[in-house]
């Protein structure tokens, strides 16, 4: 059964029209959020020479930025709920731009940690959270497609900004490049300007803005899923953990994130150890990014179809298992041609998972609980994300100089991801079964008490 076009508060999402401009804005915003920590690594060598820092000290810049971006989730979701997406994305863009420009005048590594890592990370966290939230407000029937298109921003910007950064570094040095990159990040303000706030009419007579809606929840709804709205103003919304679907999603996701990034980091090194030359090894990552760019919108389109949308959680588990299987098969491939094949399939799997990762959360939580849910998910995902690559690196070191050292890494990542996918598959069978049972009980209740129907608000639209 396809989801109802109206959600719990009677808001009819546009599903088109200005919504597509919002998708463009989200595309830009998410693109900067995911690609910036990665492309900054191009400047590392120049900064290292200028400031006299060691390689590991420099690498912390990216890690701090990613960690703050994810850890800032709950705070950003609170701000987004209070003020709406548009001001937050514009603020995020200003923070990022200002942080890059300020960092360009720095003379010590700690100064750069603070401005690029902390301030920049906070700005990106606002960007990410607000963009995802506004998509859930503007789209419902076409939401998987909108999510796929918006998440495609990450590989697109990675492919565009990486060579641009290299050019800027040669032409202007790292300080000038940071200033220009900061100016480019101000384009997030343009993205924010596109995110027109959705006015949520509540009373039939007047048009009430979002702010008023939250201050007077009692007038608009009487019974909402799991007390989500009541605790909405809390910093960490622990009532989310009472939701079965949310807990399953979180566990599966943590397993995925743990194994997801390490293969990307070690792929060039593995290729070189298999006899591929350095230039072609670096090229592999570009192939992956290129494939990813097209797979994400395609997955969104596929997930939108009437066969998959109702059971989108199964599609997500399939994508995870596909990704994990790719990694498990990788060590069996030795030649350059097979490695390219692996990279293409890796790109497909990676793109599929990331196109669906937030769509599935929206599907589970609904657009009201989504902001706090995504904040909670990102702060918890911080841990596997920071632990995954170093654990993989430790595994590589432990295997010493044997030619099989990278194979164990791929086996570990692949098996963790496949386990996560299978867990989600089984967990969702159980969850859908329970949701069906609850729905039939609800329907029975409604038939027995027709007068209460008028005031009762429907549960999350994901129920089938």
């Amino acid at each position: 059964m396809p989801p109802s076009p109206s959600d719990s508060l009677g808001n009819k999402p546009l599903d088109g029209g200005w919504g597509w401009m919002v998708v463009i804005g989200a595309h830009i915003s998410i693109g900067f959020a995911y690609s910036t920590p990665k492309v900054l690594s191009i400047f590392f060598k120049a900064i290292q020479e200028d400031l006299g820092a060691s390689y590991s000290e420099i690498a912390w810049i990216s890690s701090i930025m990613l960690a703050v971006m994810y850890a800032g989730g709950p705070a950003s979701s609170m701000l987004v709920k209070r003020f709406g997406s548009r001001p937050m994305v514009m603020l995020g863009g200003l923070m990022c731009g200002a942080s890059m420009v300020t960092a360009s005048f720095g003379n010590s590594i700690v100064y750069i940690y603070f401005f690029i890592g902390v301030v920049g990370g906070c700005g990106l966290s606002l960007n990410l959270n607000a963009s995802l939230t506004i998509i859930s407000k503007y789209f419902l029937a076409r939401r998987p497609l909108a999510n796929g298109l918006a998440m495609a921003g990450s590989p697109v910007f990675l492919c565009l900004v990486a060579p641009l950064n290299q050019y800027l570094l040669d032409r202007f040095g790292w300080r000038g490049s940071l200033q220009i990159l900061g100016a480019l990040m101000l384009n997030c303000c343009v993205a924010g300007a596109l995110m027109r706030p959705v006015l949520l009419p509540c009373k039939p007579n007047s048009c009430v803005s979002q702010k008023m809606l939250e201050e007077e929840p009692n007038k608009c709804n009487t019974k909402v899923q799991g007390g989500c709205m009541k605790e909405a103003k809390n910093f960490l919304n622990l009532s989310l953990f009472k939701d079965r679907g949310f807990v399953f999603y979180l566990i599966g996701n943590m397993m995925f994130i743990f194994g997801a990034y390490a293969p990307i980091l070690f792929l060039p090194a593995y290729a070189i150890s298999q006899g591929v030359d350095e230039y072609s090894a670096a090229y592999l990552l570009s192939i992956m990014g290129f494939v990813d760019m097209f797979v994400r919108p395609a997955t969104g389109l596929l997930a939108n179809s009437k066969w998959i949308r109702p059971r989108i959680q199964y599609f997500f588990s399939f994508a995870m298992v596909f990704n994990g299987t790719c990694h498990l098969l990788c060590p069996l491939l030795n030649s350059h041609a097979f490695l390219i094949g692996y990279t293409v399939f890796f790109g497909i799997g990676f793109g599929m998972v990331f196109a669906l990762i937030f769509e599935c959360l929206m599907d589970l939580m609904g657009s009201q609980c989504f902001p706090s849910a995504v904040g909670m998910v990102t702060i918890i995902e911080c841990f596997p994300m920071l632990l995954g690559p170093p654990t993989a690196g430790l595994l590589v070191d432990l295997c010493g100089d044997s030619e099989y050292k990278y194979k164990y890494l791929f086996f570990m990542c692949g098996s963790v991801i496949v386990a996560g996918g299978l867990f989600l598959f089984v967990a969702n069978i159980y969850n859908y079964h329970m949701l069906d049972k609850e729905k039939t009980e609800n329907d029975r209740e409604q038939k027995e008490n027709p007068s209460e129907n008028q005031e009762q608000v429907s549960l999350s639209e994901a129920q089938i």
Binding site: K12, G173, Q179, Q456, L459
Partner: protein
């Protein structure tokens, strides 16, 4: 006659003294100069000492492949391609009591290389151009030149505050202070000289203006401001129409709640029309 005896006795004692300090080794050739291939050989003559083996040392380090247990009084070492890595002092060693050694020097022109072929500097900052010297013997003299109109003008240390040259046998550094875009851009040549000759290498220096990044920065900021202004103005112009639309479509869903899609859709469409 007596004088002759005395002199010959003295000479004999000297010879004996020589013989007792170590066996006599003849090295062939005595010196290798600027060759690409060479065969070094050592011959221990007129020695009754037992030879337990022989090996060669390169700059004090034992060459493992040259170790032999052979008791022959001669040994050879073949050098196939003499580069700055393989140049240096070679010593043949005979394992006897006392040890017999002889040194053969393999000399080539110095190998001069730069860390990077092009260097960048910022305006009014300082730039450091570095050249390394390798090989044996190491360069004794370093000179820097600036290429001007196809010719080389030497840069002399200490004549002005602008240039400073610090040299050691294996490295030379040219420090240029307060870089200026007009004067300092160009090619710089470092030359290292040893007893055999001179080799040099070239570095290109680029000077970046301090405010080079300012113009693109301002351009992008202007673009952002213009786009944001356009979007907001467009929105203000459309706003009155949107409010009425929202009101109409908003009221309908509250009446027909949690149930099915179909009916809701129809109701909404009718109302907005």
């Amino acid at each position: 006659m007596k004088l002759l005896w005395a002199v010959s006795a003295l000479l004999l004692s000297c010879l004996r003294a020589n013989a007792s300090t170590g066996p006599n080794i003849i090295a062939e050739p005595s010196e290798v100069v600027n060759q690409t291939v060479a065969i070094l050989s050592c011959n221990m003559t007129e020695s009754s000492l037992p030879i337990k083996g022989s090996h060669w040392l390169h700059n004090g380090q034992k060459i493992d492949t040259s170790v032999s247990e052979d008791s022959a009084p001669f040994t050879t070492l073949r050098l196939d391609k003499i580069t700055h890595h393989s140049s240096g002092k070679y010593e043949c060693v005979f394992v006897t009591e006392p040890e017999g050694k002889k040194t053969i020097e393999v000399k080539i022109l110095p190998h001069v290389s730069t860390h990077k072929h092009s260097e960048h500097g910022n305006e009014n900052d300082e730039a450091e151009l570095v050249c390394d010297g390798h090989g044996y013997p190491l360069p004794t003299d370093w000179t820097w030149f600036k290429e001007v109109d196809g010719g080389k003008t030497p840069i002399i240390n200490g004549t002005s505050d602008k240039y400073e040259i610090k040299s050691t046998p294996n490295k030379t550094t040219l420090i240029i202070n307060s870089l200026s875009i007009d004067e300092d851009i160009g090619d710089y040549i470092c030359s290292g000289t040893n007893e055999l000759g001179t080799t040099s290498d070239k570095i290109h220096l680029r000077v970046r203006s301090r405010l080079a990044a300012l113009w693109p920065f301002l351009g992008i900021v202007a673009e952002v401001i213009i786009l944001v202004a356009i979007i907001f103005i467009y929105e203000k112009r459309r706003k009155p129409d949107e409010i009425t639309d929202d009101d109409d479509s908003g009221s309908a869903p509250l009446k027909s709640n949690s149930n099915d899609n179909h009916k809701d859709k129809n109701v909404r469409q009718r109302n907005s029309n």
